[in-house]
Symmetry: C2
Amino acid sequence: MKDLAPYIERIEKKLNELELPTKPVKLYDPLRYFLQIGGKRIRPALVILGQKLFSPSASEAYPQALSIELFHNFTLIHDDIMDNAPLRRGQQTVHEKWNSNIGILSGDALLIKAYQKLAEGAGERLESLMEVFNSTALQVCEGQQMDMDFEERIDVTISEYIEMIRLKTSVLLGGALEIGAIMADASDAHRRAIRQFGENIGIAFQIKDDILDLYADPDKFGKQVGGDVIANKKTMLFLSALSVAGGPQLEVLKQLLEETNIELKLKRTKELFDHLNVRDMCHERMDDHYKRALNALDTIDVADQNKTALRSLAQYLIERDL
Amino acid sequence: MKDLAPYIERIEKKLNELELPTKPVKLYDPLRYFLQIGGKRIRPALVILGQKLFSPSASEAYPQALSIELFHNFTLIHDDIMDNAPLRRGQQTVHEKWNSNIGILSGDALLIKAYQKLAEGAGERLESLMEVFNSTALQVCEGQQMDMDFEERIDVTISEYIEMIRLKTSVLLGGALEIGAIMADASDAHRRAIRQFGENIGIAFQIKDDILDLYADPDKFGKQVGGDVIANKKTMLFLSALSVAGGPQLEVLKQLLEETNIELKLKRTKELFDHLNVRDMCHERMDDHYKRALNALDTIDVADQNKTALRSLAQYLIERDL
């Protein structure tokens, strides 16, 4: 991860320097606020890593990196409204601090700013950048809609779930890398391969997220352990349990969704998951996507040292404790 | 207006043919629905007129025209949520027919589709198109925020109001024309002039809208006469009255905002507006912007016959009864 640190520092600086008008105050203040409550800035860093993979000496494509980060924040502002979430990274969400209308409109403005940054210094690459950005952005919307659809269903299959997280989370990692690759004038085959790497890392990353929810070390984990269980979220853990549970276990699983005693609900759910070996099932899937990602990276014929940063980032994302 | 009819027909056809995926159903069905409940399609027609002004024989830039119409519909879907409006063109709004979350997300997807269309066949013009589209789109957001801010204020000045409608409504007409001009490879000076024409026509159009709300012929007007008065909207009529009302009249004006008897409220407001000559004040402002528009058009050195369609459209927009 230390390979990334200088890029992330620079991205943070560029974000702080982002020019936003002062008026109307209620349009732009929420954006200034939200962009400064933090975030890991992994996605914009992927733009730079995607570029450096193919063109190590090129000057970094920070406008395009920022574009991806602005887009990501736009989705967070709107998702938080849809999910009725009061907090993000421990801070008030935009619609909570102001109101929903301001969340909608400032989110819209942020998406437009993302397009402005995408075009900055793009030159002849703009057409390719727009193709990738637009199809990625639409897929992210599709993933969010699938996620909302799933809330009303109990019969979600694992492959439907993987497709949902691919769209909602992973295509943006793939898209960020591909946008970096475009800025390095990479070939179509190289662009496809790096996108594959990103999408599979993204899926592995999300499965890891699902596992950590219940199996994280509470001392290291930044948020409430079992939050997904409490919220009855259909995570990879839950759906894996659903896929192997026999008749009586299925009944227990469904009853646990109704359980109002939180402590009991967490304890029993964990017991059932442990009994069904759900954690191992999820780890296997995660490893499968991790391997696919590394295989995709292997097909790219550039000097192996160019791949080091991406390999260590991938490893970090699936080995992290939080 | 008959000059426009063939273009509008074609735009309608292209909108019907717009390729939208089927799934997720709740993401794309609302868009199909909303795009087909109609609209005058003036804005996309302006793209074509802006193009034909400078390049009469060029094949029409329908993708860019559609882009503007998609963008406009995106703003309507989101504005309807913010305004809590149940109806649009006599039909249910998206958030009313589905829900707010679906309105937010399908609106987002529509904005992205607008960018996709903008890039279609743009070639080397894409960079200029993006510049105009992005700055226009941001200004529209700023105008919407100002409009919302004004709801909470009584002391809005006429010049603030004009700036608000310029941003919320007019820049999109100017932007549509300029995008057409870009597709015709017009010079920078020509682009500026046609944008000036569009912005001023847009302001005149909106003032006309405000006047019609109270002074339309009820038999010809498609909606409730006095709707803005009932909703206590700070229109050009109201703000003009506010700007000239003396002490006692000011009191009456403020009292009328509280009046709950609708019939009485409409009658008394109209009496006060008539007494203060508010309608003439608004007509003068409208004519002023109409003339500025025509002056801007006059500065453009192309064959006069190329300007006929724009002149008659401008005339129609300020002389219309509905």
